[in-house]
Amino acid sequence: MSELANTRPSPSPNTGPDRGQLAQLFRQFIDPDFVIEDPETQKPYECDGLSMYCEMPLLVVLPETVEQVQQVMKICHQHQVPVVARGAGTGLCAGAMPNRQGVLLSLAKFKRILEIDPLGRTARVQPGVRNLAISEAAARHGLYYGPDPSSQIACTIGGNVAENSGGVHCLKYGLTVHNVLKVELITVEGERLTIGSGGLDSPGMDLLALLNGSEGLLGVVTEVTVKLLPIPEKARVVMAAFDSVQAAGDAVGGIIAEGIIPAGLEMMDSHAIRAAEDFARAGYPKDAQALLLCEVDGTCEEVQEHIERVEQLFHRFGATSIRTSQSEAERALLWKGRKSAFPAVGRISPDYYCMDGTIPRGQLAHVLTEMQKMSEHYGLRVANVFHAGDGNLHPLILFDANVPGEFEKTEAFGAKILELCVQVGGCITGEHGVGIEKIRQMPVQFNPEELAQFHRIKAAFDPAGTLNPGKGVPTLRQCQEYRSIEPPSAEHPAPSSCGGSHV
């Protein structure tokens, strides 16, 4: 395989059929109303949850059968037209942002739960099924689907697979990759593959793991079989307030050292606490500097035992107040503040920008302190809501897009935060993905050889690079835009002009 394949720019628009001709081809097998050409109807598809990045596609199509998806892929492959898959568009890295010369392939019509096997504890679903809908359907069997992104009312399982999404409970129950057994994939050529099986592993390379988190760059997911878990007998949450971020951070370490793996362990800083309380009235102490929510689940006896230990531990680590849910209603209320933290922050600022770095837990206090300094430097407030148990930060930078230059400043601040995460031994994204948004930070985490290896993986699935082009891994062309260019070496002409080195 030629190294130069890595550098190939998006396919040229001039070689294939134009918009009208392509639409005509699709209308032969897709309901004509769902082959969308006009800008007005296309508008809702111009971006995902990261609305600062917008683009109008050539066409939007909404097929409703797997055969139609295959047909779309075949036609696009034949004419080298880029394809961008889309679930619910809640992604936060511009991963589902359309390609101007390409087809936006929405899986919105694939909404059926095909099968629930209560004894085998699995659900087989179409990719457009919402995350929460799986748990709702499984509930009557006493089962649920583990990963619970905060966007779970809206986001789809296809998007979850593409991003390897996490959630509040992934500390104990794992990410998407830990909970998917089998995936049906349509390749860029339109071929239908089954990856994974009804067993817990399959022979050969772990392609299933490779697909999780592949951001729609390797194929289109048309069916997913997930594991279901028994709903725990009991779950309770302890809320503890602290007068410093350091103290709360130490308490997080304390819980882990105590040998307890909570179902969820979340932290908020003072900005986030106040915003969430004003929004949700969950009873959070507004004068606290940091708040921890620690959920424990399991059998009734286990929860009782662990809750007592968690309470004692928070006391020992200097909590200024502690409240433990006494009922399901109270548990829901305490979580409501956390779960609505993003929209709540949205109310205290015209705009906010959500970052997603992960760090070793021990670096929490250091990183938060540094971030505070950066906040002062850039003159932008930052609120922190995050999955403390697994060190996944969600700094929300508050800004006003109507103030000229403020978004650029925000992006620069965000980039600095991600670089800091890498510096302390972490990574640039824990669950939201790279997409377009973090592509500039990829060379901070990976060196040129590693980026080249990623391109070779991509090329094994999609040699011409028509699936979600320009996302996930920076190409030479993109790298050239980001940093000054070194002369390309003979051995690695493609990525050698971009990339940093490891910490």
């Binding site: 395989m1 390897n164 593959l193 990856i195 022979p203 490779l210 286990e302 972490g426």
Partner: protein
């Protein structure tokens, strides 16, 4: 206890320039697995030692040649463990080999597999480049998941030189119940139980007995024991260890050992031979002469795949055949990592 990355890189580069192929060996404890392979020895066993271990971070990082036993002893001092219970086919079983074979012990359905606990790796590819993927943090979705791609690849993609894993606290209490029952009933009972929120951590049926291990908070384990009844087993630790390391009597002798990785609810097929059913029905072992072409359709019907795990003819295919498209994809991936086919030729499949 030394870092031999440079030397290993050098060996790969010289093999590449001299057109030689390499047979990657850690402790050699899994030499019986996979197909017969050729190539000059590339010894990773001396590239060993724990690089970092911070109990509060729940992460351990060690060089690939580090024996599993050494890592587990270190974790035990801190009341922690590798929750996927890596088998030790000998004292020499290494971390790298365990990842390449994606081996996990009895707790796998409930606590996850080797690949599930994997956080990151360092790897030398067929170009002799030392690369790092993933990391030492719990979540990382930057770039493709190259680390997990190694699980089960049998060393065909590169030389794994370092592995970071998530570790977990040891359970406060463990009790194993033993009940007499036939296999069909055992499958039904264990699947029904697995659908209830009880602290199950392993389920194995052998010789007319169902062994169910409960693990977690003492109160929760004890109340489940009361509810389910059955006899607490005093030799339990030894039983699970022997099962994990394939030292039970079932695994002795030269009769070929087949592994069916299937849906836990699949009805037991009528195949001659002795069976041991682990993973609550998802991993079923068979001792029988048999042949892979005959077993493949059976395993497929059971929702999974079959492997000739040990013994038998190791010059033919030993892993379940792959559909053409998946074969092509894996060959392309192989070329992307190892363009000159240096590593473990034919170990996984004859076409790899």
């Amino acid at each position: 206890m030394s870092d031999l990355t440079r030397q290993l890189q050098q060996q790969v580069l010289s093999a590449r320039s001299e057109g030689r192929q390499l047979n990657i060996v850690g402790g050699g404890s899994k030499a019986f697995m996979g197909r017969q392979s050729s190539g000059d020895l590339l010894d990773v066993g001396q590239h060993r030692g724990v690089v970092s271990y911070q109990p509060v971070e729940l992460v351990v990082t060690a060089r690939a040649g580090t024996p599993i036993g050494e890592i587990e002893a270190l974790l035990e001092e801190q009341g922690q463990m590798l929750a996927f219970e890596p088998p030790r086919f000998s004292d020499q079983s290494t971390l790298g080999g365990t990842l390449a074979c994606n081996l996990s012990g009895p707790g796998r359905p409930w606590q996850g597999s080797m690949r599930d606990h994997l956080l990151g790796i360092r790897l030398i590819n067929g170009r002799g480049e030392a690369l790092r993927f993933g990391g030492q943090v719990m979540k990382n979705v930057a770039g493709y998941d190259v680390s997990r791609l190694m699980a089960g690849a049998m060393g065909t993609l590169g030389v794994i030189t370092e592995v970071s894993l998530k570790v977990l606290p040891r359970p406060a209490c463990q009790v194993t119940l033993v009940e007499s029952m036939g296999l069909d009933e055992a499958l039904r009972v264990s699947n029904e139980r697995a659908a209830t929120p009880k602290p199950i951590s392993a389920v194995c049926w052998w010789q007319g007995k169902l062994h169910t291990r409960l693990a977690g908070a003492r109160s929760s384990v004890e109340s489940t024991v009361q509810q389910w009844g059955g006899e607490p087993y005093s030799e339990a630790d030894e039983f699970w260890r022997q099962l994990r390391d394939q030292q039970l009597e079932f695994f002795a002798g030269d009769t070929p050992l087949w592994r069916f990785s299937v849906s836990p609810t699949a009805p037991q097929p009528a195949l001659d031979g002795e069976w041991l059913v682990d993973w609550g029905g998802a991993q079923r072992w068979l001792r029988a002469a048999g042949d892979i072409e005959r077993y493949e359709p059976v395993a497929k019907e059971m929702g999974g795949s079959v492997t000739l795990f040990k013994g038998g003819d190791r010059s033919g295919e030993v892993f379940h055949s792959q559909p053409h498209a998946l074969q092509t994809l894996q060959q392309r991936l192989k070329r992307g990592f190892d363009p000159d086919s240096l590593f473990n030729p034919g170990r996984l499949y004859s076409w790899m």
